[in-house]
């Protein structure tokens, strides 16, 4: 089978760039909706912030796994 196209160079960086798209969108949604919720109900700021940070942490883990994997399995 002949190779028609090849990607060379720092594939880890490309992989991380792709891996960061999803979490980027997710974190944007979380904080956007969080700010909106705080604006609508400033009195429940504590609970909203708590859950906002929690959601942020869970989403961010995906981007971070994408960041670490090239270092661990890249060789």
């Amino acid at each position: 089978m002949s190779v028609l196209a090849e990607v060379t160079g720092s594939l880890g960086s490309i992989g991380y760039g792709l891996a960061a798209i999803g979490p980027g969108v997710g974190i944007g949604i979380i904080f956007g909706n969080g700010v909106q919720a705080i604006a609508r109900q400033p009195e429940s700021y504590g609970v909203i912030r708590q859950n906002m940070i929690l959601g942020f942490a869970l989403t961010e883990a995906l981007a971070l796994i994408g960041f670490v994997v090239p270092f661990v399995f890249g060789k």
Binding site: I53, L54, A57, A61, L64, I65, F71
Partner: protein
């Protein structure tokens, strides 16, 4: 090629060598000594010394703050009480509820240990975030893992804890085919893995970023316009990133403790 090469060979922009980008090598520290202890090799490196320093700082601070318990607290006692109450009010009571008061000592120790460990990444002289060595977050996470599994088995019953988690109520029966493996996987594998990886990767990424810009500032320093401008910009970015990194370090310590509290809270009461 690493950051060490730049410092020793004085590698600058127009001296013919390429940009020596720092790699993951900077996290593998040179061991100072190796101690053979009952057939196991213990390596003493910078990380080990820093961890001991953090333990002494945290324990020493809280001992000093708690020792002379006065009715009218002094500055040190106030600070200690405020730190402790922060964990109680912002994390334990907010997440677990009134039951959370029992876990405040555990959560507070976790929070301050992780925070000061992370802070070692920006303190001049130390400048190595301890949690960027995977072994440390993993051991902390294992402690948390054992704690919440044990608490769950104690409060909900040894088998009931797992069935409660595997079969969340209020879901159509057919969905259990899909949901049960996912819930069990989440409880037993994904939770500890992500909790450890999150802390590790944040500190790793942050330290690597700061190192890259620091090396960049040194590398670009040369008698040319682009060199001077680039070096100044890179140095400014380093300073700004250091401030940002301090914020991230506090946030990650907070998130680590918050997740611990969430997991403990989930073990104490089954979902209804």
């Amino acid at each position: 090629m690493s950051a060490v090469v730049v410092a020793t060979e004085s590698c600058h922009l127009n001296s013919g060598c390429g940009f020596p980008a720092p790699s993951a090598d900077i996290f593998f520290l040179q061991p100072y000594a190796t101690i053979n202890f009952f057939g196991m090799d213990f390596t003493i490196s910078k990380a080990v010394i820093l961890v001991l320093a953090v333990v002494i700082i945290v324990v020493g601070f809280f001992l000093a703050a708690a020792r002379p318990q006065k009715m009218v607290p002094g500055k040190l006692q106030s600070l200690g009480e405020q730190s402790f109450l922060f964990v109680r009010d912002q994390i334990a009571r907010e997440v677990i509820g009134k039951d959370g008061d029992r876990f405040v000592p555990f959560l507070a120790s976790l929070f301050f240990f992780v925070w000061i460990s992370n802070l070692m990444g920006v303190i001049p002289g130390a400048q190595f975030p301890i949690m960027s060595s995977l072994a440390f977050p993993v051991s902390l996470t294992l402690m948390v893992y054992v704690t919440y599994i044990f608490l769950g088995m104690k409060h909900q019953g040894p088998l009931k804890f797992f069935t409660n988690a595997a079969f969340p109520p209020g879901v159509p029966k057919v969905m259990y085919v899909l949901l049960t493996p996912l819930e069990l996987l989440g409880l037993l594998v994904t939770r500890p893995v992500t909790q450890a990886i999150r802390l590790f990767a944040n500190m790793f990424a942050g330290h690597l970023l700061i190192t890259t810009f620091t090396v960049g500032a040194y590398y670009l320093l040369s008698p040319s316009l682009i060199g001077a401008l680039g070096s100044a910009t890179s140095f400014t970015v380093t300073v700004v990133l250091t401030g940002f990194e301090m914020f991230i370090q506090g946030l990650q310590a907070f998130i680590f403790t918050l997740l611990t509290a969430v997991y403990i809270g989930g073990s104490l009461h089954a979902e209804h």
